[in-house]
């Protein structure tokens, strides 16, 4: 800060860095606020001119439109708020399943690209380069077209007994409710708990005596085996609710709507291509010297991968991976183009019916922001936790 002579006080104040800094900030903030006020003022005027009130009380009004599919009960008599919740749940369901599927496919394809087998590596590359460079919306249209051009329920495809593929969706047999089911779930959880215990015992014993124990396989066997044993013990009750053709459609069994199927397939296949690239670069990012050092210590290839390569690769993979998960969730909004009632689609209908465009868009934006903020925080926490310690 300039300490000038009394006569130059005014001049040095203007050139003082701090003063200028404050001045800039005040000017910029004032401009932004002025712009904001101008836009808000116009909006309110325009809305008033069209006779549309502002406020969120429209959310309590009866929705009056039907929603194609919903994980919870919904009727057109429910409120708009309820409809939006249904939309949100639809988005979350397709996003969660999409993330799981995309990760599975992406990891497999990413490792395949690194394979020593030339044919497998080339096929994987073909898939990645083919899918990455075509817009997702186009791919969704193709999937939707395929799903809707399937034959009608009367001529449905029957690839496996009880499974029917038609233009009304995918029908699968579901097990009929049976008193043993809660016990099976308990057995699964019990098996998992036992497996966890075995793991801890195996690690402790390895530390103590050095003797290895295949706790992973044992754990898997326990988790799946216990319910299986219970299942067989009660006589293997396999009564299924099989979809049967009644009139023009199937009754019974579980359904996956064509819109859901197309959206899930499109999102998973598209995002998997990007995940494959992330996995590949993550593994390649680990310097070759690490593998060499581990091998020259006598570690097997499998142990090297597990103890040296994967921990380091995961640090590089996880940040862009969560970014892709966020992209998938955002891309689920394309559902509006193929008729799956996700949040954006339901909000759109709401806006069209009530005219409350600002509030509707605000709700959608708020939801997505919460999701992306949550993911951001999670990622920052993870990054801080696993950061390699350097000086």
């Amino acid at each position: 800060m300039a300490i000038g002579h009394p006569g130059n006080a005014k001049r040095s104040l203007f050139y003082s860095a701090r003063f200028r800094g404050i001045l800039y900030q005040v000017v910029v903030v004032a401009l932004v606020v002025a712009l904001g006020w101008y836009l808000v003022h116009n909006t309110l005027t325009n809305l008033a001119a069209r006779g549309i009130a502002t406020g969120f009380d429209f959310l309590g009004r009866e929705a009056g439109f039907d929603i194609g599919e919903s994980p919870i009960a919904y009727t057109p008599a429910d409120s708009y708020a309820h409809a939006l919740v249904v939309g949100l749940l639809n988005t979350l369901v397709v996003a969660a399943l999409g993330i799981a599927l995309a990760t599975l496919i992406g990891v497999v394809v990413g490792i395949a690209r690194l394979s020593g087998n030339w044919l497998v590596a080339r096929l994987a590359t073909l898939y990645v380069e083919g899918v990455r460079n075509v817009p997702l919306l186009l791919q969704l249209f193709v999937w939707y077209g395929i799903v809707t051009s399937l034959p009608g329920p009367r001529q449905a495809l029957n690839p496996l007994p009880g499974i029917f593929l038609s233009n009304r969706g995918l029908k699968v047999p579901l097990p009929e409710a049976h008193p043993i089911h809660p016990w099976l779930l308990l057995a699964l959880l019990g098996g998992f708990g036992l497996a966890w215990g075995v793991r801890r015992w195996a690690i402790a014993r390895h530390d103590r005596t050095g003797r290895p124990f295949p706790w992973m396989l044992t754990g898997l066997g326990l988790t799946l085996g216990l319910p299986l044993v219970l299942f067989l013990a009660v006589g293997a009750p396999l009564a299924m609710d099989v979809p049967t053709l009644r009139g023009f459609n199937f009754a019974g069994g579980g359904t996956l709507s064509p819109e859901f199927a197309a959206l899930l397939a499109g999102l998973s296949v598209y995002t998997a291509a990007f995940i494959a690239e992330i996995v590949r670069s993550g593994i390649l990012a680990v310097p070759a010297g690490q593998t060499e050092a581990a091998l020259s210590l006598g570690l097997s290839r499998a142990k090297t991968l597990r103890l040296v390569i994967m921990p380091q690769a995961l640090r590089v993979i996880i940040p862009p991976l969560t970014s892709q998960y966020l992209n998938l969730t955002k891309n689920s909004s394309l559902a509006v183009a193929i008729g799956y009632p996700d949040l954006v689609s339901v909000a759109n209908t709401t806006i069209n019916q009530t005219g409350h465009a600002v509030e509707g868009i605000g709700v959608v934006m708020a939801v997505f922001l919460v999701i992306s903020l949550a993911l951001s925080l999670l990622m920052n926490w993870y990054n801080a936790k696993v950061a390699l310690v350097t000086r």
Binding site: A293, S296, L307, V389, R391
Partner: protein, 247 residues
């Protein structure tokens, strides 16, 4: 130092594609012997010692380590690697593990040593390389010289009978070279069989039993250090020594 050689290379040839990188290599190292390999860059010195623990594959000829022949047999390779330790130019410490964990990783998972025993052994070797206080630190927090000493301790933790050094001090700042060389001299005095690729001629003079000079993929000259430095027989050797020692 009598007895059969612990490391033998017989007519070893290696090609990278059509580039002939190792030509007619013959080498024989006895138990407790210290061999220093030197030569201009690109002469194949690193490639040669990397063939000894199968980090590189040779296409023709035979390599025999401790009586086991190196080939495609995975069991043989594993057995050899457990007995041959290697120290790299770029240290290659595992950054996600502490110094102590770097040292105990292989004994725990390859030799199935109990954890307490592995840690005691690790501390013993850390004391030997004179940095026991760094045990709980991560490699990223250590200086280059400290990291290389940890790398030496890590290789020693598997109790090898042969140690390979691939230019261990080339990536270090000058003031840290001495601390690493001191550790290597200590190892030599304790009777370890060592094959070193290095440019440190002072170290070579002090420690080596045999000097091997390689150029363009061939072993050009081998001799005990006294003779090697004073009276190099080959013109190429003389040229190389002139460049190295001159400054």
């Amino acid at each position: 130092m009598a007895g059969s050689p612990v490391v033998e290379l017989i007519d070893v040839q290696k090609w990278y594609g059509s580039f002939h990188v190792l030509k007619d290599i013959v080498l024989s190292v006895g138990k407790g012997e210290k061999v220093v390999v030197c030569g201009p860059s690109g002469s194949g010195k690193s490639t040669m010692i990397r063939c000894i623990n199968r980090l590189e594959e040779h296409q023709s000829g035979r390599i025999v380590v401790n009586g086991i022949e190196l080939g495609d047999d995975l069991k043989a390779i594993e057995a050899i690697r457990k007995d041959v330790g290697m120290v790299f130019q770029s240290f290659n410490l595992f950054p996600h593990l502490t110094v102590l964990e770097n040292l105990t990783l292989a004994p725990l998972w390859v030799k199935n040593v109990p954890k307490a025993e592995a840690e005691a052994l690790a501390m013993h070797y850390l004391e030997r390389v004179r940095i026991p206080e760094q045990a709980r630190k991560y490699p990223g927090q250590l200086s280059g010289g400290q990291q290389q000493r940890v790398a030496i301790a890590r290789a020693l933790s598997m109790k090898p009978s042969i140690m390979l050094f691939d230019e261990p001090t080339s990536a270090l700042d000058p003031e840290m070279v001495k601390e690493v060389l001191d550790v290597m001299i200590g190892l030599a005095e304790d009777g370890m069989t060592m094959i070193c690729v290095t440019h440190e001629m002072g170290f070579a003079r002090a420690v080596a039993d045999t000097m091997v000079f390689m150029a363009e993929g061939r072993v050009v000259e081998t001799a005990p250090p006294a003779e090697f430095f004073a009276n190099p027989r080959n013109e190429r050797t003389r040229q190389f020594l002139g460049q190295i020692i001159g400054h």
